[in-house]
Symmetry: C2
Subunit: 226 residues, 2 copies
DNA sequence: CCTACCGATCGGTAGG
DNA sequence: CCTACCGATCGGTAGG
């Protein structure tokens, strides 16, 4: 767990920049380890309060070694955010495709999106998106606009669902503002949610959806018709 | 604006720890200036990315001088948060007392609370509460629990209003979760709101209230009866 | 509140 | 990926 070599032999690993041969697949794994450790530390302590030495230690490296994989601390932060957004979008797309086939009801689709968002935000291994949400001050303008594209992709899926609810008169305010307020309500949960006590993610999702589209026009119960 | 002495004479200010005499009231003012500058910088760049030198420069002091007024950088951060919460609570109490006399309707009271919260969060000179919300990782556990008391006072005012709405069947979910989700929706606006474009704070408050208690049971229009 | 300063830490690099 | 290291910056202090 401390040293990167798992061999039982006492053989020293070769020094120098490793050649990329087919039987050396450590490289990619170490990079992934660094990103995961960075996500966890950036989330717990914040970007500025986390040193590259902290990250190196967390994966059993020495202080200079992370810079073999990333050219700067900022690049490591961006990698966390970028990977977080790509993973989140993939999961959202999968969840929605599965749901679309079964329930064409807009309220049910909103519930799927909300539930999935809570999972991404609060579920196991959920450090990447909170880091993206709360450390965006520390990336460059160029990086921010690259991320904005990914965020836009993620959010664009919500648009038709909210639009449909609005047209059904089930949304209390304009779609654009509703989206911003709803994301706020969800994203803020990363600040107070405690997995070990209180509501489950399912209960949370139910409560959120009920708060937003309430017991409006369409009466509760019988959301899906067989 | 650069030097603390406004005299036209070239007289040097006396060195050494100043005695507290009645004709020296600079002391308190400089402290306030430091807190204001700290709030602005902590908000824009974050606590860790702001140096005490930045703050000193912002008020025309030299690098060591802030420590004459505050024993540490952390004490300066806590002063920002503490003052922000006390000010916010005072303003909320004033707004609510005024509203209670006029409109006893729970929905109208919620709208007053929401509008006031947006003002505290997004109005002119509104750096203190965002700093409190987004830099709480940087204070000690002891400070955090002191602040929690103030936050609890601030939030307690919302409880009876939400409770009344819940009993009227106008709240889609349990009161406790509603409070957390609503504060999330509001607090997140500090991340995206741009005073120079888009909705006004009044429009924002209308939209938020409409989203939360929607066009539920009681029909819209005629909220107050003359 | 300024001057002069210190110890610690940090991001990053050369060279292997 | 390690070793050894550097320049810069930072929070904080003594002494007046």
């Amino acid at each position: 767990m401390q040293t990167p070599t798992a061999d039982t032999t006492a053989a020293r690993r070769p020094r120098g920049r490793p050649r990329k041969t087919l039987d050396e697949r450590d490289d990619g794994n170490r990079r992934v380890e660094l990103v995961n450790a960075a996500a966890r530390l950036f989330r717990r302590k914040g970007f500025d309060a986390t040193s590259t030495r902290d990250i190196a230690t967390a994966v059993g490296m020495h202080s200079g070694s992370p810079f073999y994989h990333f050219k700067s601390k900022g690049a490591l932060l961006y990698a966390v955010m970028d990977e977080g957004m790509r993973s989140a979008t993939l999961r959202q797309t999968a969840a929605l495709e599965q749901a679309c086939a079964a329930l064409p009801d807009a309220a049910a689709l909103l519930r799927v999106l909300v539930r999935n968002h809570f999972d991404i935000l609060l579920g196991p291994g959920s450090d990447f998106i909170p880091v993206m949400l709360y450390e965006s001050r520390s990336i460059t303008a160029r990086q921010r606009s690259s991320l904005a594209k990914l965020q836009s992709d993620y959010e664009s899926v919500w648009q038709p669902v909210l639009q449909a609810l609005s047209e059904q008169g089930r949304l209390g305010c304009p779609v654009k503002l509703a989206r911003l307020l709803i994301f706020g309500a969800l994203n803020w949960s990363a600040q107070w949610f405690d997995a070990k006590k209180g509501a489950s993610l399912d209960e949370l999702a139910d409560a959120a959806v009920a708060l937003f589209i309430g017991n409006n026009p369409k009466p509760p119960g019988r959301r899906v018709r067989p």
